[in-house]
């Protein structure tokens, strides 16, 4: 038997530790699911404020589901099924040795194709795939966050990869 968990999370320290554990994952989840237009960080914080307001009613082991569900609902209240477009950031430092107009053009084209291809993924595929590829999370971690089976995560991610590659080739 595991140690009995505390009944509620109205303790500042416990609450802070929950925040540190889940805030980034929650934020990333919202970002990959809804894009940046709807301000995922605000929604994430709002969800934690709601968690505090209801802290006496929520056992510790239900906190994660509460946060993800609440934040998701907050988003859905605003989200009018617009197409989510994730922007590619120009963060890669330019390799001075590689400055070759043709190469740059190719890279640019590739990025555009990738953006388009990602926007064609299903929402479930996109969220799981980007959490995996960009945030470097393993299948099992994603499965726990999303409350689904590892097998389902595997399917979504592998499906996403296949679809992306096919789309990029065709475009």
């Amino acid at each position: 038997m595991s140690k009995p968990l505390k009944d509620h999370i109205c303790e500042e320290q416990l609450f802070s530790s929950i925040f540190k554990k889940y805030s980034k994952d929650l934020h990333d989840f919202l970002y990959y699911k809804f894009g940046s237009q709807l301000n995922p960080q605000d929604k994430m914080q709002e969800a934690f404020v709601k968690l505090w307001e209801n802290c006496s009613k929520i056992p510790q082991d239900k906190a994660k589901s509460f946060l993800f569900t609440t934040a998701n609902n907050l988003m859905l209240n605003e989200f009018a099924h617009q197409k989510v477009v994730l922007r590619h950031r120009q963060t890669k430092p330019k390799h001075s040795t590689n400055i070759n107009p043709e190469f740059l053009l190719q890279e640019k084209e590739y990025k555009a194709k990738l953006e388009k291809a990602i926007s064609n993924l299903t929402e479930a595929q996109r969220v799981a795939f980007l959490m995996n590829r960009v945030e470097g999370k393993r299948f099992k971690e994603i499965a726990e966050l999303l409350d689904i089976s590892t097998k389902a995560v595997e399917k979504r991610i592998y499906g996403a990869l296949k679809k992306l590659r096919k789309d990029i080739d065709e475009l």
């Binding site: 925040f19 980034k24 934020h27 994730l86 950031r89 590739y110 990738l114 990602i118 299948f139 592998y158």
Partner: protein, 304 residues
């Protein structure tokens, strides 16, 4: 061979996706045709990274939000409770005042006329008190009486006069109720009057009286008067114990009368006026052959 290669390839990609390749598998993965393709894709995907956020700053923000909303609630709560308390008190006072009974009383040797909300008239004899509720009068015509009063009741719903000894119920009529210590007399002058006591229930017709003295019902004869004599400043008695006569005398003249207790239960028939104490004294002493002496407010009666 070809079959197993394909299996192998998919397996490797799966393991690569799951960040779970061991060194040998990694080497095998690097030998795949699409290795370059996959790494290129992977490299570019990193560009979609979510905004970075500072967990500590975000946590501070959350605490600030939580504290400010709680302060608002804390500040609001006492204000709300004060407002609520004031409302409750105001309502309570309003309720108390509007349902408060109205009380009328008379002093020694005083008479008073009271008009009730429905224009019924009450005349109060000396040393008497009535209480009634003005706000509930329409539904509940009830008067509490301690003392003696003559009622001229307007027609309407039933009208109750409550005393400690009994209740008098009428519909609309004229009657007198006298309720003193151990003495209860109801006289009907018009209409019908129902008297209800623990001892006896009785319906009175005009001229009838109902009398209880010291807990005993006493039968009385018909009287033919249109109103009680005290309204004309005269107290009259018919076979009434002398002590009751003296009590009435004391109420009308604001005096203290001392007398031989042997005379207390003698029956007295007669009357005395409220206007002249000398004549009144003679009226009550002569029939019983008593002598009186008077000093200030003290009168003593002696047997001859």
């Amino acid at each position: 061979m070809c079959e197993s290669n394909i299996m192998n390839r998919e397996d490797l990609i799966q393991k690569w996706l799951d960040h779970n390749l061991n060194p040998q598998e990694l080497e095998a993965f690097k030998q795949l045709d699409d290795y370059d393709d996959l790494t290129r894709l992977d490299k570019h995907l990193k560009g979609f990274k979510a905004d970075t956020m500072s967990t500590d700053n975000a946590l501070d923000d959350v605490w600030n939000t939580i504290n400010s909303t709680q302060q608002k609630k804390r500040k609001l709560l006492p204000v709300l409770s004060k407002v609520a308390a004031i409302l409750v008190i105001c309502f309570g006072i309003y309720f108390y005042i509007t349902t408060l009974d109205t009380e009328m009383n008379t002093l020694v040797s005083q008479q008073k006329s009271v008009t009730l909300p429905d224009a019924s008239e009450v005349k109060l004899n000396a040393m008497s008190t009535i209480t009634f509720n003005e706000s509930r009068w329409d539904n509940n015509r009830t008067v509490n009486l301690d003392g003696e009063a003559f009622f001229k009741v307007a027609k309407g719903q039933k009208f109750d006069v409550k005393t400690n000894i009994g209740t008098v119920t009428v519909l609309g009529t004229q009657f007198n109720v006298k309720h003193r210590e151990n003495f209860f007399e109801v006289t009907c002058y018009e209409g019908q009057v129902k008297v209800d006591t623990n001892l006896k229930q009785h319906t009175l017709l005009p001229g009838d009286s109902f009398l209880i003295i010291d807990g005993n019902y006493i039968a009385t004869e018909k009287e033919n008067l249109s109103s009680p004599s005290w309204l004309n400043h005269n107290s009259s008695f018919k076979s009434i114990p002398f002590k009751e006569v003296i009590s009435e005398f004391e109420r009308q003249y604001d005096v203290t009368v001392s007398y031989d207790q042997r005379d207390a239960n003698q029956k007295f028939t007669g009357s005395f006026t409220h206007n002249d104490i000398e004549i009144a004294l003679k009226s009550i002493t002569l029939p019983l052959q008593l002598k009186y002496s008077k000093t200030d407010h003290i009168i003593s009666l002696k047997r001859e």
